[in-house]
């Protein structure tokens, strides 16, 4: 997966901020998913149209971890969400 990629949120996915987390609802099968605080930050940035790389850089400014680790975590999360068809990488 390229760090220059962006994501699209499909029409069948709905998100809601609850506290410092985000809940996702897949309307196609009525399944719910929770993203923890870091996952919620990543989702919000991706949802705004940022690339995976830019998202990782933004997260890097706020969290105490190496950029390489954060880039790996962003790619991993996007990959997991894409597998569940909660987003598409473009």
């Amino acid at each position: 997966m390229r760090l220059s990629g962006k994501v699209l949120i499909p029409a069948h996915v709905m998100s809601k901020i609850v506290g410092d987390e985000i809940m996702l609802l897949d309307l196609s099968n009525g399944t719910y998913f929770a993203l923890d605080a870091i996952g919620a930050d990543i989702w919000r940035l991706l949802e705004r149209g940022m690339t995976l790389g830019a998202t990782a850089a933004e997260i890097y400014a706020d969290y105490d971890a190496s950029l390489a680790d954060i880039e790996r975590d962003v790619v991993l999360l996007v990959d997991q969400l894409a597998t569940k068809q909660l987003l598409e990488v473009v």
């Binding site: 809601k16 987390e21 309307l27 009525g30 929770a34």
Partner: protein
């Protein structure tokens, strides 16, 4: 939108043209309810008991009882199962929860059947804290707070629960065909609150593993998942209803504190549990 109920007599339960889209089973694995889509609405079938047809918008229910089934049984099925489902189709938020009034605010006890919702409600309603409902709780979401709505002025209890909370000679209606629970009507034995009240807190009932009453605040995401699990929803494939339910529940957990409550399932401990809940509610933890 209101809910209109029409009785259409007795009929055999013939097989509809379509296959059921959903079913409920009892804890012993036996079939309890089948759900069918009709050209105009839904058929909710309780085998050998009754058929209920709900209109597409949830505003109208017509029913047929199976031969020999008592009217009280059909009324219980309607009030406890069909009414909340039909109202959910109207976009109303309906939960598997009982509710009692505690000093200006109402609290709700949420959980599956058999978890102790009605017993807790009865315990409060016999000690100065009137009950709003024993199940099928309707919740309205406002700007700053949620409101809990009362339903039928009665509680359904198992015999042992009835003896422990009210008294063996309390006026009651005999059990229906499908449940050994008696229905106790509100009155001097059992106080009832017949007006909407501001929601103070939601308590999700644990399995009874704790030796004393324990309260664990839930994160909003945890509370939302629990709310979803205990919501009545007639048709989860109707995206607009699913969306509005998700939006309402997200809002509800952001304006109302939610806790996991566990306590020993021992009737002797009920007074202590009741006191602990009142004190916890008074402490007024916020979201």
């Amino acid at each position: 939108m209101t809910l209109l109920l029409l009785k259409l007599g007795v009929r055999d339960q013939t097989t509809p043209e379509t296959a059921p889209y959903h079913h409920w089973v009892l804890p012993d694995g036996s079939l309890w309810t089948r759900f069918f889509r009709l050209r105009e609405g839904y058929l909710i079938r309780f085998p050998d008991l009754a058929d209920f047809e709900v209109s597409s918008d949830g505003s109208r229910v017509q029913y047929w009882s199976a031969n020999g089934v008592a009217e009280e049984t059909v009324a219980l099925l309607f009030n406890n199962q069909v009414r909340p489902l039909a109202l959910s189709r109207q976009g109303k938020l309906m939960l598997h929860a009982s509710s009692v009034a505690l000093e200006g605010e109402a609290v709700a006890f949420v959980g599956p059947s058999g978890r102790g919702k009605s017993t807790l409600a009865a315990s409060f309603a016999t000690h100065g804290f009137p009950c709003l409902t024993d199940d099928g709780l309707q919740v309205e979401i406002g700007e700053d707070f949620a409101t809990l709505l009362p339903s039928l002025p009665s509680l359904r209890l198992w015999d042992d629960s009835l003896r422990a909370t009210i008294s063996a000679d309390a006026p009651r209606i005999a059990p229906g065909e499908y449940s050994a629970k008696s229905r106790v009507l509100a009155g001097e034995h059992l106080t009832f609150h017949d007006a909407p009240m501001k929601a103070g807190a939601f308590y999700f009932l644990g399995e009874g593993d704790s030796a004393v009453a324990t309260f664990e605040p839930l994160r909003q995401s945890e509370a939302l998942i629990e709310m979803v699990r205990h919501s009545f929803l007639l048709d989860v494939e109707q995206h607009e209803i699913l969306k509005s339910n998700f939006t309402a529940l997200s809002r509800l957990v952001s304006i109302t504190p939610c806790f996991r409550l566990d306590y020993p399932r021992n009737y002797d401990a009920l007074a202590e549990v009741r006191l602990a809940i009142v004190e916890h509610s008074r402490a007024g933890e916020t979201v």
